[in-house]
């Protein structure tokens, strides 16, 4: 079942003439992880804001086309320090801020918050002041805060930007777990090497328009590598002058060389 459907969607920010999104058609099914890739300014973040019903409702601007959302969405933005409520003395309170705004009973709030803290490996930080956390810890707190609201459609904008390698691996595993629970996940990331294991589909955006859609194998195609959006293995293979098709991962490269 589709959690999000965009039909021929275009979006213009206020006081701009050229659209940030151009005629984008895309759907995300429950249990599916769709990754958006593209150069800076390609429109991935804007697409997430439209999917989250924040653009144009909060950002202003103009939307054309059809947007159908079946589930409540939650979006994780790239800068964790601007996403804190500023009203919490502890990490637990920070994560509970969203569920409390939904008016849930206290017991349900506690259950969701505890579960989210556990999933993000934040239990030991539950009583810490959010202002004392590192960027990576704060990013995990914000992700937990969104997950505690139990959204059906989870949107991530560069979620691993503040995380160390171990934190990023935990996040990618979590995203697959969320999909396994039936949540729809739409993800904008420049961590291309993680996508073969994380994404079911990859959408290549260019200048606000969808250039190509496919499985993660897309990230080893010549045109994608030419645009600087291939995986590290594919990029190195190409730079070494080795023959196409480029391998997507180290495992593929080993297979190719045998």
């Amino acid at each position: 079942m589709k959690s999000l459907t965009l039909g021929h969607t275009s979006f213009w920010y206020p006081a701009t003439e050229s659209p940030a999104l151009r005629d984008v058609s895309l759907d995300v099914a429950q249990g599916e992880v769709v990754a958006l890739v593209g150069a800076l300014g390609a429109g991935a973040s804007t697409l997430l804001l439209v999917a989250a019903d924040l653009a144009p409702r909060v950002t202003g601007g103009r939307l054309a086309g059809d947007v159908a959302r079946r589930d409540r969405s939650g979006i994780v933005l790239p800068t964790p320090w601007t996403q804190t409520s500023g009203m919490a003395f502890t990490v637990w309170d920070e994560v509970a801020f969203g569920p409390a705004n939904l008016g849930w009973p206290t017991r349900e709030i506690a259950r969701q918050v505890d579960r989210a803290l556990e999933r993000l490996e934040l239990v030991s930080l539950a009583s810490r002041d959010p202002a004392t956390l590192s960027g990576g810890e704060l990013q995990r707190v914000i992700i937990a805060a969104i997950l505690a609201m139990d959204p059906g459609l989870v949107l991530f904008d560069e979620p691993a930007a503040e995380l160390d390698a171990e934190g990023a691996r935990t996040l990618w595993r979590l995203i697959r777990l969320l999909a396994g629970e039936g949540k729809a996940v739409l993800l904008a990331t420049s961590a291309l090497d993680a996508l073969p294991d994380v994404a079911d589909r990859v959408v290549w955006l260019e200048s606000g328009a969808v250039r190509a859609v496919g499985t993660p194998d897309l990230l080893a195609e010549v045109a994608v590598c030419d645009a600087g959006l291939g995986t590290s293995v594919a990029t190195v293979w190409r730079a070494s002058g080795l023959l196409e098709p480029y391998p997507l991962t180290v495992a593929h490269a080993v297979q190719r060389s045998q």
């Binding site: 804001l49 933005l77 800068t79 409520s85 500023g86 705004n101 206290t106």
Partner: protein, 226 residues
């Protein structure tokens, strides 16, 4: 009475009653009392955090008043302004915004309105912290705050522009984040840990209101019938 554990409404009531009384009661005696109490309250939050900011903020007002008025008028208005400033400084230092939100939500206020009020109180310390970070960054890049008026103006510009622009940028992102975290108009937020509101504090708030009304009547109504 440091204000740290008082109910947020009690803190607000004290911070509102003192300036009100300062303007209602006859100067300079009444205003001297309220200014003394307000400065004492500010001092309970620490010399650096409470008293010093209050004195520094109010000092220019005294200078301007002295330039514009005679001494009695300067003292009368200066004490009233001192009460207002010291009360506000004490309130900002003593009131925990999260407790205010919880108290307002528990009292049936809209969570959005409560957040707006609490965020306003948080704006001053947040901007101060941000300004310090910008100044440190600019100093690393060779900007000096010392020197003549021109150098100081350059330093002020180097602080003000990034401060305003970054604050505006953050407002945009924070609006998106709060929206996605459910802080929208019309919500019925669940109070997580509403602060206790003892009967004695409720009575004290009513008493403050009555004192202000009585002072108002004593000052402006009674003399018409004498």
């Amino acid at each position: 009475m440091t204000g740290g554990r008082l109910h947020p409404f009690t803190l607000l009531a004290i911070a509102a009653a003192l300036p009100a009384l300062a303007w209602i009661l006859p100067a300079p005696t009444g205003a001297a009392w309220t200014a003394t109490i307000a400065l004492a309250l500010a001092a309970t939050r620490g010399i650096r955090r409470g008293l010093w900011p209050a004195v520094l903020t109010v000092a220019p007002f005294w200078v301007f008043l002295l330039l514009l008025h005679d001494v009695p008028t300067t003292i009368a208005i200066g004490l009233r302004i001192t009460t207002m400033v010291a009360s506000f400084v004490w309130l900002v230092a003593a009131l925990e915004p999260a407790r205010l939100v919880e108290a307002m939500v528990a009292a049936g206020w809209s969570a959005s309105v409560a957040y707006l009020l609490a965020a306003t109180l948080r704006a001053v310390p947040l901007l101060k912290t941000r300004a310090q970070r910008i100044v440190e960054a600019q100093r690393c890049r060779g900007l000096s705050r010392r020197g003549g008026m021109a150098a100081r103006l350059r330093a002020l510009r180097a602080l003000a522009l990034p401060l305003v622009l970054s604050a505006l940028h953050e407002v945009d992102e924070r609006a998106l984040a709060l929206e996605t975290r459910g802080l929208v108009p019309g919500i019925r937020r669940t109070p997580l840990a509403p602060p206790p509101d003892p009967a004695v504090e409720q009575a004290a708030r009513w008493a403050l209101l009555l004192v202000c009304l009585a002072a108002l009547v004593r000052r402006f109504i009674v003399p018409r019938f004498i």
